[in-house]
């Protein structure tokens, strides 16, 4: 069955629809704005979080770099290498020294003490006779282990000659 409405409803409906359209647009705009604000806030929060994380990472990196530098300083291989070289050289010198010491009339001369102070090495020992002592001393001078050798003390006791001399070598 038809429905009749002689009230000017078409105009009213048009006005209502226009008002509804405006409302819908307004609500849509409001919702979009609210959504944008929420999104902006969320992104801002995320960005801040990321910034904080980045700053923390940078700090950690700095700390790491500083730590590495400290480790590098601690385990600085360049300086120890040279030091080791010098040590090795010194060791070599000492080895040569002891080797040569053994080569020269070891049976006729014996050392009772060896002491080192800076670039001076003090030898205390005994020899059978003054001639053995003289030969040993001469041979040692020939080895050039010490650029300078000084006899400090010679003392005849019973059947042995006690001696004390110093060998001066260049500073390491």
């Amino acid at each position: 069955m038809v429905t009749i409405n002689l009230f000017p409803w078409r105009q009213r409906q048009q006005i209502y629809q226009q008002r509804m359209l405006k409302k819908i647009i307004g609500v849509a705009f409001l919702l979009t704005t609210v959504a944008n604000i929420i999104l902006y806030g969320a992104l801002l929060h995320k960005e801040n979080h990321a910034r904080l994380r980045l700053a923390a990472i940078k700090r950690e990196l700095k700390r790491y770099a500083a730590l590495q530098a400290r480790i590098a300083v601690k385990t600085n291989f360049a300086a120890p290498i040279s030091m080791t070289k010098e040590l090795i050289e010194e060791q070599e010198t000492i080895k040569t020294f002891f080797a040569r010491m053994g080569e020269a009339y070891a049976a006729e001369v014996c050392f009772t003490s060896l002491a080192r102070e800076q670039n001076k090495m003090t030898f205390v020992g005994r020899a059978r006779s003054p001639s053995d002592m003289s030969q040993f001393f001469q041979e040692w001078q020939n080895t050039r282990l010490f650029p300078e050798m000084q006899i400090e003390k010679l003392e005849q006791r019973h059947d042995a000659l006690k001696f004390r001399w110093q060998g001066i070598f260049h500073a390491l």
Partner: protein
């Protein structure tokens, strides 16, 4: 259309007849309707003249007082115009016309039918199911704009918020039957005989009679006119909407006129409020 389908809606059905104003408050929810209140206000003689309201001031004051007493100010209201004051007609138009174009065609049609018509008219139209796809079947309703404007002005001043202006015979049909049964509506001062097809009113007669004998004679005349005009649609059933005291007299005359079944209206209230009930049943627009 109810914007909030899970809430109930209160509608006022207002039926102004020659003898009285009938107001009915209906609460409509999704599943059921409930009549909350009915009110009847007798009208003094002289308010109507030739079936039309002529003392708007008096009607406004009476109605305003009644509305105020009931506390129904600004409630959505549906009113009904008497069918004899409106012109209802079918019109076939080419499909695809806009509402403005249809209105223009209706005005043209009305001017052809009533060459001396100079008064502005208020028009509404509904679409009927057309038999051909390129044809638009329109049922239009027209009423004098001044009369409608005066009516709306009166109701607005009275405090009612009019949403729909219906035609009383459609309201009566809505209240009495869901089928397309003819209706004989006998009122105190006038009577109506109406027949519907599946879409709209196809036959309508309205008359006033001083005595019940005269009324019955007029009914016989109109019945015969219908029978002669619509031979292919003989009436087999009719709804008789009349006061209880006069029911048997009309039943008898109808049985004499034709061998048709008399159907009593299945109404929860008196036939008196049938039109107001039918009006209040209208679904309100969103605006």
């Amino acid at each position: 259309m109810n914007q909030f389908p899970f809430t109930s809606q209160i509608t006022i059905g207002l039926d102004i007849q020659v003898d009285a104003i009938r107001l009915l408050q209906l609460k409509k929810s999704r599943r059921q309707s409930e009549i909350l209140h009915t009110a009847k206000l007798s009208l003094p003689q002289g308010l109507f003249s030739e079936g039309k309201i002529n003392d708007w001031q008096l009607l406004t004051s009476l109605l305003a007082e009644q509305v105020e007493n009931l506390g129904w100010q600004n409630l959505p209201t549906v009113i009904g115009l008497p069918a004899h004051l409106v012109r209802m007609q079918r019109l076939s138009l080419p499909a695809g016309l806009s509402a403005a174009e249809i209105e223009a065609d209706i005005f043209l049609q009305l001017q052809q039918e009533m060459p001396g018509l100079s008064e502005p008219l208020a028009i509404d139209f509904s679409f009927l199911s057309a038999k051909e796809p390129d044809v638009l079947e329109v049922l239009y309703t027209a009423v004098r704009e001044h009369y409608l404007a005066a009516y709306l002005q009166c109701l607005a001043v009275s405090g009612l918020n009019v949403k729909i202006v219906d035609v009383d015979c459609y309201a009566l049909k809505r209240a009495l039957t869901s089928e397309n049964l003819p209706i004989l509506h006998v009122k105190k001062h006038d009577s109506e005989f109406m027949v519907f097809d599946q879409h709209s009113l196809i036959f309508h007669q309205h008359w006033s009679a001083e005595t019940s004998e005269e009324n019955l004679l007029r009914l016989k005349d109109y019945w015969q006119i219908y029978a002669a005009t619509f031979r292919e649609h003989p009436l087999k059933q009719i709804i008789l909407c009349v006061e209880e005291v006069a029911y048997f007299a009309y039943e008898k005359i109808l049985r004499e006129l034709a061998d048709c079944e008399i159907v009593s209206p299945a109404l929860a209230m008196s036939c008196d409020f049938a039109v107001a009930f039918g009006l209040a049943q209208r679904e309100l627009p969103a605006w």
